[in-house]
Amino acid sequence: MQLRVDQVDKSFGTGRNRKLVLDQISFSVNTGEFVALVGSSGSGKSTIMRLVAGLDRPTAGVISIDGSPVRGPGSDRGMVFQKYSLYPWLTAAQNVAFGMELQRLNRREIRERTSYFLEVVGLADAARRLPRELSGGMQQRVAIARALAAQPRVLLLDEPFGALDLQIRESMQEFMHDLWQRTGLTALLITHDLEEALLLAGEVHILAPNPGRIVRTVAVDLDRSDLRHLRVSREFLDLREELARCLRGLDPQLSPTP
């Protein structure tokens, strides 16, 4: 599988209110890869994600999966949002089963896959609980299980841990890395958190704002056998600092006045 985003522009509004939000965005994600886009808030990250998901159309350029252009949302691209990620009237298990029910899989398969994916995200015990009875981290894990259970070819993660406390966020990052290794999923992650991107992704694209464009692409080749150790390793901190400087330089409010 290959997801390709090819020279995509996106503008909102018409006439004098027209605003270019994305400018010539190109990148690709292949099976088994974990790719991240990092940019400050307002740099157009969610807009890219919505285009890839097919929830909105590019103004110019093409987004395709294995050569066939994306025309609308579909179950081959599963999405996890930052907020309102679960259906509050469904239990955790019903949430996980939801996509499979929409796809009309047979009952037995739905039941088996639901318990399997709840197990995968470590929430077998929470199957019958409502979302409001789950912590923020547990809710996002259910949302990830639901997306995976629908068998997408690529998982789209739009700041999935952005609303969580720092400590929970760190454990969710470890969870996500572990999940990626165990299941061999393919993921596109969008985040404003550089550390998160470097920990998880093999390839990181840095997005500059106004209009959103990719200014730098880094292949991250680090030893990820122990993320806790990696977070504080020299190599990791140096790379993070270098890219952080690059990101700061893109934001006119943060760069020192000459």
């Binding site: 609308g72 179950s75 599963g78 309102y84 259906y87 009237w89 796809q103 629908a150 997408p152």
Partner: protein, 255 residues
């Protein structure tokens, strides 16, 4: 002392106290003859009027007639408002087409339609049921439309990225999501339905609680007027509690 405070804090206790207080003042005012009994009948005479109407079978017949009209008219309104409200909340075209129209009709007082309805449909049940239908349809619809507009976009889009089709989004995301607000809208607008049935019966009817009140006025039977008012209030209260119960049962997730 602590137990007393606990008792007072129970949500029903203060409410009940308020009701009992009014009953007490009413009893005192009538037994001390502070007001002419023609204007303010005593609780016991109201009770007696109720007993006599119940024995004659009038009370029951009036109740069935009024409640039947309310339920028929309101059920019709609820059934039409749900798809209409969802359509207006989800489709820009339908919304632009209907919202100005509804906004206009909404401000026409429903009782003003009574003469027209009588001319069209005579004095039978149909005009009364239609009056309730007209008088509640627009409020029901607009409140449901608003509920739909507040469904978080992410919930709809998640379903789409899980392979859901439009019909599935409507039935399995939007409908359950707005259920609490719909039930609440129905509960609130039910009060309007009660107002309208009484108005309709005051104008033209052979039976019904409103009819009974207007007859009582002709014979200066204030005890019967009080009886009618209290019965109407009690039925309204029961219906309101019924909606709250349904809400608690069906939408536990929203509490």
């Amino acid at each position: 002392m602590a137990r007393l405070r606990q008792l007072v804090q129970h949500p029903w206790v203060l409410g009940l106290t308020g009701v009992l207080l009014v009953l007490l003042i009413w009893t005192l005012a009538t037994s001390l003859k502070l007001v002419d009994p023609l204007f303010l009948p005593s609780p016991s005479s109201v009770l007696a009027a109720g007993r006599s109407q119940a024995v004659q079978g009038l009370l029951w017949a009036d109740l069935v007639a009024s409640v039947g009209r309310v339920l028929a008219g309101f059920a019709l309104s609820a059934v039409v408002a749900l798809p209409l409200g969802i359509a207006m909340g989800t489709s820009t075209v339908i919304n632009r087409l209907l919202e100005p129209l509804m906004g206009l009709i909404r401000y026409m007082p429903a009782p003003a339609f009574i003469p027209l309805l009588i001319i069209y449909f005579g004095l039978g049940e149909l005009p009364k049921i239609l009056l309730i239908f007209i008088g509640t349809l627009f409020f029901n619809t607009l409140m449901i439309m608003d509920a739909v507009k507040f469904v978080p976009r992410e919930l709809v889009e998640t379903a789409l990225t899980l392979g859901g089709r439009t019909s599935q989004v409507l039935l399995r995301v939007i409908t359950p999501c707005i259920a609490p607000q719909v039930i609440d809208a129905y509960r609130i607008n039910m009060a309007a339905a009660w107002n309208l049935v009484i108005v309709a019966e005051l104008v033209a009817a052979t039976e019904g609680l409103g009819r009974r009140i207007s007859l009582a006025q002709r014979f200066l039977r204030t005890d019967e007027i009080f009886l009618g008012l209290i019965v109407i209030g009690l039925i309204g209260l029961v219906i309101d509690l019924g909606f709250r119960l349904v809400m608690r049962r069906a939408c536990a997730w929203a509490n």
